[in-house]
């Protein structure tokens, strides 16, 4: 049963009047509730319950179930069998995946994969892939640079280059590390600069010669990252798709989307850690009373609440900004595009830098306030702390995002 199908949400594509906005928000609230239930009940281990150990250690979600719930094609247009909604809905799912600390190739497929495909000029290959997304059949990975450097010079936002080979064949060279969901992907989408220096996206089979995709084991077992290296990989000309507009704007938006999706995940982690801690300290007794009645513990929880509240506000601002610029990026109808993009990046950098750090703080505080229990493997708190730490680094550290923000003051 699809709990969030195209038909359910098509109402939100109405013009953004006040009433429609309320409706969209109500639908997002529903999506959130459904996602929370689904992930809590079956797809993921929950924090703080020792029985979590009985499940698979990496908390792999049931991918078919996610597809069935309608979460994989949220932003795919309705005519391509998607739900035709915005990043605001994708953000809800990201946050809930973080909250449940679930392992799923959602970031690679539904966030970045869908994002890069939507940013490509329509063509048969691209449309076919987009059209299949909602079904859960393709598992995608997008070989974007994931480190701090991508926030610097424009050229650093893409790390692959196309070149004309000797026999007229086009070849790809480059490398990206810590690419989300790289190892499990059946299709690679590689942003690259073509021979003219324009950004394009290249579709590749991970198994093809000249391409090496390697899983990178990381402490956060709830996520899959890997490296993608191309050395003279021969590219099918039909699999090189131009990006809308000049390509650079689409690329910037893709990076913003990546960072914000990770911030949403971190926000979910922080929320989960706050809630599980509040629940624990309300019942754990020491010195004859619940430890949550002691000010040191209570005020620690209050600090979590403040951080989560601020994080929510910043993430909401950024999601609103990103969703509103959304599909306009390639349109000729966007004369203010540069300004809009700058506004999106500002909002995203604020959210990513704040929530990236706050989630680690909150998860660390959760470990402290859980006492010895929190330090056990079984409690699962460490899963969240590791996930928060990886989110802090992925697609730009807090310091890197702040460095970008600071350029506004020059």
């Amino acid at each position: 049963m699809s709990t969030y199908s195209a038909t359910t949400v098509s109402a939100t594509t109405a013009p953004a009047t006040g009433a429609a906005t309320d409706e969209a928000e109500q639908l997002r609230a529903e999506l959130r509730a459904v996602a929370r239930d689904l992930l809590a009940s079956g797809a993921a281990p929950s924090a703080g319950t020792p029985s979590a150990g009985e499940r698979k250690d990496d908390g792999e979600a049931d991918w078919a179930q996610l597809a069935e719930a309608g979460w994989l094609g949220l932003e795919v247009p309705e005519q391509l069998d998607g739900a035709g909604v915005t990043f605001a809905e994708t953000a809800v799912v990201c946050q809930e995946l973080g909250r449940a600390a679930v392992r799923a190739p959602y970031l690679g497929t539904a966030v970045l994969g869908a994002g890069v495909l939507l940013a490509a000029e329509p063509c048969a290959g691209r449309d076919e892939l987009l059209g299949a997304l909602a079904s859960g059949a393709p598992r995608l990975a997008v070989a974007l640079p994931t480190g701090d450097a991508a926030l610097g010079a424009r050229a650093a936002a893409v790390s692959f280059r196309l070149a004309g080979g000797a026999g007229g064949a086009t070849t790809l060279d480059g490398r990206a590390d810590f690419v989300p969901d790289a190892a499990g992907a059946d299709t690679l989408l590689v942003p690259a600069l073509d021979e003219a220096g324009a950004p394009v996206v290249v579709r590749l089979d991970p198994a093809q010669p000249g391409l090496e995709v390697t899983e990178t084991p990381v402490l956060d077992v709830s996520r899959g990252v890997g490296s993608v290296a191309a050395a003279g990989a021969v590219v099918d000309p039909g699999a090189v798709w131009p990006l809308v507009g000049d390509g650079w704007s689409a690329l910037r938006l893709l990076h913003a989307r990546a960072a914000l999706a990770v911030a949403c995940d971190a926000l979910g982690v922080a929320e989960a850690m706050m809630e599980t801690t509040v629940a624990y300290v309300g019942v754990r007794q020491q010195f004859g009373r619940p430890i949550g009645s002691f000010q040191a513990v209570k005020h620690g929880c209050a600090d979590m609440f403040i951080q989560v509240s601020v994080g929510r506000g910043l993430v909401a601002d950024a999601v609103r900004a990103l969703a509103s610029v959304g599909q306009d990026v390639g349109g000729a109808t966007a004369p203010d595009l540069a300004e809009d993009l700058a506004a999106v990046e500002t909002a995203v950098s604020r959210a990513k830098s704040y929530v990236g750090a706050a989630a680690v703080d909150v998860a660390g505080k959760a470990m402290q306030l859980h006492g010895g229990i929190g330090y056990t493997w079984e409690s699962g708190v460490h899963r969240y702390l590791k996930r928060a730490a990886l989110s802090r680094s992925l697609f730009g550290s807090p310091a890197a995002h702040r460095a970008r923000l600071a350029r506004r003051f020059d």
């Binding site: 009645s293 209570k298 506000g313 003051f409």
Partner: protein, 412 residues
């Protein structure tokens, strides 16, 4: 010069186009009305000059319809929450002076009268406030600060030929602006036998009543806007009671709630406008060695951090205002905003003082009529404790957040 337009006052949220119009109107108004160079002119001035400036500014805002936007339309207000947000955003963006002197009058006094006052009390005071009547809050006492409910000032009902009066004895503290006040919002104990919160009543006290003695207290930055009020057999006519006798605690809760919401949004907007601009200016000012702090990545990092945190504050405040509007305010939402704002203010002004370095110590006065981010960073920093302490210290606020916001168990 633009004047206040007559606007349809409804509770329906205005359309985006109307808000844009309002914004344009406000920008024009601010350009024409915000006194240029008021910050410099207000620095180091005497009390009289400050009061005159404040009164003038209040009347200017009143004439335009911007002084009491949160009051009901029938009393001279009537802006929707969305319109008020635009108003405060634009006043902050234009770096308009703050309504310091009339703050208690237009917020606490008005809120008390509107929620718990009689028609007679409203008619007597609301128009007077618009004409400049000033109010002071007489709640805290030396032994009743954060623990307000332990207040000891007594009010004894006695019969008089002209009607019952309450005879008040005691002492109030931290009464901000009492020297200028015409009226006082007074809490006093009318039933000493009742449990702490059950024996308190709420009064309107004419500051000209015999038996009153007001003494200013100098605060940490050298101002004397806080006062002590000594009450010695002060008689208040029974008709100046607000709400039922012994129900003053509940009335006070409503009054205190008036400090929140839109006033926090105003402060957040000021911090995000003049505050951040002043900080950036400080960071761009070359030091004695010719280097600009802003060219240091350490400073850039902090500055960007404040930028993000201020954006977070604004989001929180917008959210709080929207919840006020829809009646969905959580029991700890105001505490979250207060703790976060006050500590952000403290860190930001502290950083300003650090970056300004030795030069910060030579700023001996800050402009009156400004907020807590004047750019005289060391004074601003000292002033920031005016936010972490009163109205329930941040320690108390965190307990409220834990218990009411998160449902954690109370101390046994």
């Amino acid at each position: 010069m633009a004047t206040g337009r007559t606007r349809e006052m409804t509770s329906v949220a205005p359309a985006a186009r109307d808000l844009a119009e309002l914004r344009a109107e406000l920008r024009a108004w601010c350009r024409a009305n915000v006194p240029t160079g008021w910050r410099r002119a207000q620095t180091g001035i005497g009390d009289e000059e400050f009061v005159a400036f404040q009164k003038d500014w209040f009347q200017r805002l009143r004439r335009a319809g911007y002084a009491v936007p949160h009051w009901p339309a029938e009393w001279g207000g009537g802006m929707s929450a969305a319109e008020q947000m635009v108003l405060y955003q634009e006043l902050a963006a234009a770096d308009a002076p703050r309504l310091v002197l009339a703050f208690v009058s237009i917020h606490h006094a008005a809120s008390t009268l509107l929620t718990a006052g009689t028609d007679e009390q409203r008619r007597r005071h609301l128009p007077a406030i618009l004409d400049g009547e000033l109010w002071v809050q007489g709640f805290s006492e030396p032994e009743a600060g954060s623990d307000l409910a332990s207040l000891r000032t007594t009010a004894r009902r006695e019969s008089r030929p002209g009607g019952d009066v309450f005879v008040v004895n005691g002492q109030k503290l931290w009464a901000s602006g009492a020297v200028h006040a015409d009226w006082c919002l007074l809490l006093a104990r009318t039933d000493p036998a009742a449990p702490k919160r059950r024996g308190i009543s709420y009064f309107l006290l004419d500051m000209c009543t015999p038996g009153l003695d007001v003494r200013p207290i100098r605060n940490a930055i050298g101002d004397a806007h806080f006062c002590e009020i000594f009450l010695n057999d002060v008689e208040i006519p029974a008709e100046n009671l607000v709400g039922p006798e012994n129900a003053g605690w509940q009335v006070a809760q409503a009054t205190l709630a008036a400090e929140r919401g839109m006033t926090m949004l105003e402060l957040a907007e000021r911090l995000g406008n003049v505050g951040l601009r002043a900080l950036v200016d400080t960071c761009r000012t070359p030091g004695p060695d010719g280097r600009r702090p802003i060219d240091d990545t350490l400073v850039r990092d902090r500055l960007a951090g404040f930028d993000a945190e201020i954006a977070g504050l604004r989001a929180l405040c917008r959210d709080l205002v929207e919840r006020h509007d829809t009646g969905a305010v959580g029991p700890a939402d105001a505490s979250v905003v207060k703790v976060y704002y006050s500590e952000l203010l403290q860190r930001l002004t502290g950083f300003g003082a650090e970056i300004a370095g030795l030069a910060a110590h030579t700023e001996l006065a800050k402009p009156a009529s400004s907020g807590w981010e004047s750019g005289a960073w060391l004074l601003d920093f000292l002033g920031s404790w005016e936010w972490t302490i009163p109205g329930g210290t941040n320690e108390i606020q965190r307990t409220i957040i834990g218990e009411r916001g998160l449902g954690l168990p109370r101390e046994p």
